[in-house]
Amino acid sequence: MAQAKRPLSPHLQVYRWGWHMAASIINRATGAALAFGSILFTWWLVALATGHDYFNTVQGFAGSIIGRLVLFGITFALMQHLAGGIRHLLMDMGKMYDLKVNTSSARLTFVFSIVMTIVIWVAAYKVMGVL
């Protein structure tokens, strides 16, 4: 027998987007992205252990335009997941449940990750002597 079509309870579509929702879902998304990044990290470590030639091949991939874009994305994902994770740890301790503080701390994670991503890349290019 076919099931009666019952009304569903309100879900995502009825809520207005806010910073706290964005911070929550992006913490999960960046976590998944970093899982992909961990495969690249492992590849790099294996290349380092394998030897000079293969390491240079992998470094060549990392240094290409696409490689740099991926690494830039991973840097952002890592910083966002770090900031989001610390925010969640504070919430686990019962802090920041006040709506205003909660929203501004969510926004702060994005400010942190964007600033830190730029700082890290500028610093890396300075070390390389490019900047």
Binding site: G31, T42, L45, L48
Partner: protein, 127 residues
């Protein structure tokens, strides 16, 4: 509020997932451990940016660096395994698919950890 739990269930404290709070707690433990380890890795990668194979190997061979990289790998792989499990539990509902996906994730996380740690050891103890 009426408590629907049996006294035995209350004592076990396991809940619907039959796993109690262990998963939740270990995700926090590994998250806290990840903070200093991630900072160490980021600072190291920035500091060694653009270096060649020999310099990277020399850096990795330092005992403290080898140990910290191994700790980083072990810790993030555990954290990654726990985090991916939560995503699967939220979005994969068919029992068989869920079990298969979780098996794949578990094996993949252990493989990432084993390959990475073996590589660090090979560099650390290599000639």
């Amino acid at each position: 509020m009426t408590d629907m739990k049996t006294p035995l269930a209350k004592v076990r404290g396991l809940g619907a997932a039959k796993d109690g709070t262990h998963h939740w707690w270990m995700q926090r433990v590994t998250a806290i451990a990840n903070i200093p380890l991630v900072i160490f890795m980021v600072v190291s990668f920035v500091g060694n940016a653009g270096k060649g194979h020999a310099e990277w190997v020399a850096w990795m061979k330092q005992p403290l660096v080898s140990v910290l990289v191994i700790l980083f790998v072990a810790n993030f792989c555990y954290h990654m395994r726990l985090g991916l499990q939560v995503i699967v539990e939220d979005y994969v509902h068919e029992h068989g698919t869920k079990i298969a996906t979780m098996l794949f994730i578990s094996f993949a996380c252990v493989l990432v950890a084993a390959l990475s740690i073996f590589s660090v050891l090979r560099i650390a103890f290599g000639g």
